[in-house]
């Protein structure tokens, strides 16, 4: 119901403006994808059914996602358990884990694993010298290994949170009733933390299905959904986007199903998680402490391998694809900063613009959704969460298909690059802004208005400053994830608009690992420096909104 008083306030008009923007840049591209698969004289679905490679790609994606989800749970849950419940030597470095997943772009992980275990990799060559022949890293072996080490931290973080929130008095109660400690734990704790584990596992599943960088670099001849989608997009070029839309639709439907399942699990889990006193970690020493400490440190060190390899590679002499390990040079760095600095400049500009616009938009729209509800705001909420169901590849296809020509031609502009980053990261900014706004009581705003401050001025003078810290941390997270974005931007970029990630990806494709390392190292610096400045100088808790 819209009242006359609503028309006088600015909120309804702002809501409508936001709705138009979301309709044009999210709904319209998605609608284009969904309809393009059956448009014109070609039906993508019948072609898909007749195409064994396409069907295999879908099946492989499901298998890969299931396997990686399992391995991530197998590593993430025990690691979470020991860190939440025990104290042991080396535990503090495990605190670095969330940071690592956030700051290392997937393309770099894939690259560095390749540099270590690929055909010409450091470890491969070393083992070959002593007579051990490793299986080829391309295909299942590489995909599962790299994705496991990239994604297990999501399970780890989710499980740690659940275990820390678990009321350990329940466990003690079970013990006092006569069950053994181990059995009480299984019986009492597992059901309570299971929803969190499942939710994070499903998140991993969707990320694997949508994964582009690692799949492209390591799948080689193995058909995978995200790879064939991208290849269809490239090969269809300016022609009717039939097959790419078909594959993209499959991906959207798959991810949507998982997200609904996830939502259902989380909503059920909410009743079960008891607020209470978490158990204090107990020290564990002796040989068991040593084993746990070593195992945990091993996982963390393996996660850190990319950083080390890339730092070395960036300063290593190379001739074409051949790395001359042990010979040092500054030539690679010179190229990044002096000979070909365009990717660096582009990354800074595009990610900067996407962060700025994204954060302002999220803050304003979240404010409308939470504090100024009207007939339009629920739609703002639904539409702005659509990108959660879109992999980067799908989003890229949507943007290209929608804005290639026609009434709003954006192809080749910087705008479409910013748009790709902006839309892809919008849900994260929105989620963080909404969480903070929920914690600002309505009475604060009413106090300001009652003191004579008009509504809009109240928003800027009172609400925005209170959202400040959360906005800052969301801005930094948006920045880091925008800088490392690849899958959407690689579809919408055109010559001269390469970002650092695109550049790294292309260099890996040409097997120029030294140059790739140099760009990669700069990429990591661009990500890490703002985090360090924010936490050390401005004392912002960057991971608070995570």
């Amino acid at each position: 119901m819209i009242r006359a008083s609503d028309l006088r306030a600015p909120w309804l008009w702002l809501s409508l403006a936001a709705l138009v923007a979301l309709l044009v840049f999210i709904v319209y591209p998605v609608a284009n994808i969904l309809t393009a698969s059956v448009s014109g004289d070609q039906n993508g679905w019948s072609r898909l059914l007749a195409d064994p490679r396409g069907l295999t790609a879908i099946l492989n994606a499901l298998i890969l996602a299931s396997v990686v989800t399992c391995t991530c749970v197998l590593i993430g849950v025990p690691l979470a358990y020991v860190t939440a419940r025990y104290r042991f030597f080396g535990k503090s470095i495990i605190a670095l884990l969330p940071l690592i997943t956030l700051v290392i772009p997937e393309v770099i992980s894939a690259q560095t694993w390749l540099m270590a275990l690929g055909n010409n990799g450091l470890i491969t060559r070393f083992l070959r010298d002593i007579g051990i022949q490793l299986p080829t890293f391309y295909g299942w072996f590489g995909l599962v290994t790299v994705m496991t080490f990239v994604y297990y931290t999501y399970v780890y973080i989710g499980t740690v949170a659940a275990i820390s929130g678990f009321d350990s008095t329940l466990e003690e109660a079970a013990q006092s009733l006569g069950t053994s400690p181990a059995r009480s734990r299984m019986k009492v704790m597992l059901p309570v933390i299971l929803p969190s584990i499942l939710a994070s596992a499903l998140l991993v599943f969707t990320m694997v299905v949508g994964n582009f960088a690692i799949s492209m670099i390591l799948a080689n001849r193995l058909p995978l959904l995200s790879v064939v989608t991208y290849q269809a997009a490239v090969s269809e070029g300016g022609a009717a986007p039939v097959m790419q839309s078909t594959f993209a639709t499959v991906s959207v439907v798959m991810v949507m199903l998982i997200l609904f399942l996830n939502r259902w699990i989380v909503s059920r889990g909410r009743f079960e998680i008891a607020q209470g006193r978490g158990a204090r970690p107990v020290p564990i020493t002796g040989w068991r402490g040593a084993v746990i400490g070593l195992a945990a440190s091993f996982i963390v060190i393996v996660s850190l391998v990319p950083l080390a390899v890339i730092a070395v590679g960036a300063f290593t002499v190379s001739r074409g694809p051949v790395m001359q390990w042990g010979n040092w040079t500054l030539a690679n760095m010179e190229r990044v900063f002096i000979n070909a600095p365009q990717p660096l400049v582009n990354s800074l500009i595009y990610a900067g613009a996407a962060t700025l616009i994204g954060i302002c938009f999220s803050a304003l729209v979240s404010y409308l959704i939470i504090k100024k509800r009207n007939a339009v705001t629920p739609w703002l909420d639904y539409i702005s969460s659509i990108p959660l169901a879109l992999s980067g590849t799908v989003l890229g296809i949507g943007l290209v298909v929608s804005f290639n020509s026609g009434w709003l031609p954006l192809t080749g502009t910087a705008t479409i690059m910013v748009l790709a980053l902006l839309v892809r990261r919008l849900p994260f900014g929105m989620r963080s802004a909404q969480a903070t706004l929920h914690n600002i009581p309505n009475s604060i705003e009413e106090a300001s208005i009652s003191l004579g401050s008009p509504p809009l001025r109240t928003f800027f003078k009172v609400v925005l400053p209170m959202m400040g810290p959360a906005i800052a941390s969301a801005a930094i997270l948006t920045w880091t994830t925008s800088v490392s974005e690849l899958s959407a931007s690689i579809l919408v970029y055109s010559g001269g608009r390469e970002t650092l990630t695109i550049q790294v990806f292309r260099l890996i494709g040409s097997n120029l690992m030294a140059y790739a390392s140099a760009y990669g190292l700069v990429l990591i610096a661009v990500i890490i420096i703002p985090i360090i400045v924010a936490t050390k100088v401005f004392k912002i808790d960057v991971f608070a909104s995570k």
């Binding site: 008083s5 009413e446 106090a447 009652s450 003191l451």
Partner: protein
């Protein structure tokens, strides 16, 4: 500046929360809205403030119709239950906020801020942030912030309910003093009858979106017009009775078993059935003697010693239970099982329509 509310309707999603409410609050009056949870007190207050839109009816400040005026132009001061201080601003900046919104600045403004804060006894915490204040201090800052803009109307929604008992009494006095000095029309919401009785010039007892009775604290307490008001303001014994004899002097004679009791009669017309209302502290206990036939015959079934008084529960012959509070020397002198007689001054008991 007086407040006039004429035939006000407010609804949420089609349900009337306030229905046909009319109310006049004279200038300078400390007016309290008293009522149980969910009766619409907050809704009425927020409608006066302008945060809730009336579906029908009008609100006037003096003679100005403010029904459609947005809240920031109504020149009101508001004090909230949760203080609603701006957490990122200092105490001084919180108090200065309303002045800045009115275009004031500089030393002249700071002087007002300092003066107002000293007035509530907080001159020494000007540069602190709200998080570094106690609950009582926070509510004083909120009060200073509302008063410094010299509002036409002061609105407070349960400002004391987050404070502990001692502080509540202190801040009560602060509020009363400030209100009297500024002679500002005030609407105060509470569901605490002691607060209402002690602070108000006038009280409106609300029930289901309507004002059930309007009057001074004494009128509300001593002559409740309905059983609901009698029950809500102070404790009351309610017994369904039939008047045996309506006397010309305005008293009614009621028979309870063999004993008779006199009470003020408010029944009109020919109606004889009503509710007898008696407050526990107005009843006097005596040992029963056979001659005495004026009062309520009862037997002590429960006794609670409370220091300054003793609370008894008596069972009447028909097993109805009533409460009696006994004061004075030896107030706990009746054992359980004793037969007693409870008497009451006819001006303190009354029969009202059921």
């Amino acid at each position: 500046m007086g407040i006039d509310i004429k035939n006000l309707y407010v609804n949420y999603g089609g349900m009337d929360v306030i229905a046909d409410l009319s109310l006049t609050i004279p200038e300078g009056c400390f007016f309290t809205l008293l009522g149980p949870s969910g009766c619409g007190k907050t809704t009425l207050l927020r409608t006066i403030a302008g945060f809730v839109q009336a579906a029908k009816g009008n609100i006037y400040f003096q003679s100005q119709d403010v029904t459609r005026l947005p809240p920031h132009r109504r020149n009101i001061g508001m004090v909230f239950q949760d203080y609603a201080l701006f957490p990122d601003k200092t105490v001084a900046e919180n108090v200065a906020y309303g002045l800045r919104a009115r275009g004031e600045s500089g030393e002249a403004m700071m002087k007002k801020v300092r003066h107002e804060l000293e007035h509530v006894g907080l001159g020494h915490v000007m540069d602190r942030h709200p998080a570094a204040l106690s609950g009582g201090q926070r509510q004083r800052v909120a009060l200073a912030r509302a008063m410094v803009i010299k509002p036409q109307v002061l609105l407070m929604d349960e400002p004391l309910s987050n404070l502990d008992a001692k502080l509540r009494i202190q801040i009560r006095e602060t509020i009363s003093d400030l209100q009297r000095e500024a002679n500002i029309t005030t609407v105060f919401v509470t569901h605490d009858q002691e607060e209402a009785l002690s602070m108000s010039d006038r009280i409106g007892v609300m029930n289901k979106g309507k004002v059930e009775q309007l009057g001074t604290p004494k009128e509300i307490y001593a002559t409740p017009r309905t059983a609901y008001v009698a029950d809500f303001v102070g404790a009351a014994n309610r017994i369904n009775v039939t008047v045996a004899e309506a006397n010309a002097d305005g008293t009614a004679r009621i028979m309870l078993g063999d004993a008779a009791i006199l009470a003020r009669n408010t029944l009109t017309g020919t109606s004889r059935d009503g509710i007898l209302i008696m407050r526990p502290e107005d009843l006097r206990l005596k040992p029963r003697t056979s001659a005495e036939m004026q009062g309520l015959m009862g037997r002590v079934v429960k006794r609670q010693y409370l220091g300054g008084k003793t609370s008894y529960k008596l069972a009447l012959p028909d097993e109805t239970l009533i409460n009696v509070d006994s004061h004075g020397d030896d107030h706990d002198g009746f054992e359980i099982g004793t037969d007693v007689i409870a008497t009451i001054d006819p001006s303190k008991a009354m029969v009202i329509a059921s």
